[in-house]
């Protein structure tokens, strides 16, 4: 599934629930779902606060089920990131005045099995995640 929505903080909860409701098909534990929702929250919040800031724009989200894994892509067409190594460091934030923790990337990475960032300054940022649902008795496998 794919969705597009305005980069407004009101839409963060919507994105979390939509992805979680989609992933529920794989019968994850509530813990795994919380991890996925946290990843969506951090990624979408970054698009809103850093990618677009005061500018209006859209966020593009895709989620696919492949076997017992999900593939998630979160993308903005905002300002982009210049130094990817720098921003991925724990505690690094470019907006300390907003009381950001600088832990977004660290948290996202810790909750997924694979993580990649692509970004072009002035064009935007795309995050890709892969997470296996490690359920005790593996659920039905839908290709969606």
């Amino acid at each position: 599934m794919s969705m597009t929505f305005s980069a407004l903080s009101e839409n963060e909860a919507f994105a979390r629930v939509a992805v979680a409701a989609f992933v529920a098909q794989l019968n994850p534990t509530l813990e795994e779902l919380t991890e996925i929702k946290t990843v969506v929250s951090e990624a979408v919040t970054n698009c809103i606060i850093h990618g677009y800031g005061e500018i209006e724009g859209d966020i593009y989200l895709q989620c696919k089920i492949l076997g017992d894994s999900i593939e998630l892509v979160v993308e903005d067409h905002g300002i982009g990131i210049d130094d990817l190594d720098l921003v991925r460091q724990p505690l690094y934030t470019s907006r300390p005045e907003l009381e950001r923790s600088g832990m977004g990337f660290t948290i996202m990475e810790s909750f997924v099995d694979e993580f990649a960032v692509e970004s072009v300054v002035g064009k935007g940022t795309k995050l890709r995640f892969k997470k296996r649902i490690r359920t005790p008795q593996s659920a039905t496998h839908h290709e969606v």
């Binding site: 909860a13 979680a20 409701a21 098909q25 019968n27 534990t29 509530l30 779902l33």
Partner: protein, 77 residues
């Protein structure tokens, strides 16, 4: 009839967030009970089945636990 229905509806306003929050509390309790029973974290289908609701509805109700749905509620509840 439409007018009566509207009156009843407006007068008897059940804020979504409030009743979903109740459901969210049931979900949390059921999750804890099942975790004890099974000796592991329950899967969403197990929680949903135990409560007689769909897994996606579990997701929706859980979200209500997180933040007040509106400023109105934080101020007046």
């Amino acid at each position: 009839i439409g007018e009566i229905q509207r009156f009843l509806r407006d007068d008897n306003t059940v804020k979504v967030s409030r009743s979903l929050k109740e459901l969210a509390r049931h979900i949390r309790r059921k999750r804890d009970d099942l975790a004890k029973e099974l000796g592991r974290q329950p899967q969403i289908n197990e929680v949903a089945e135990a409560l007689g609701i769909e897994p996606a509805e579990v997701v929706l109700a859980q979200e209500a636990m997180r933040v007040p749905a509106s400023i109105h509620e934080t101020v007046f509840e």
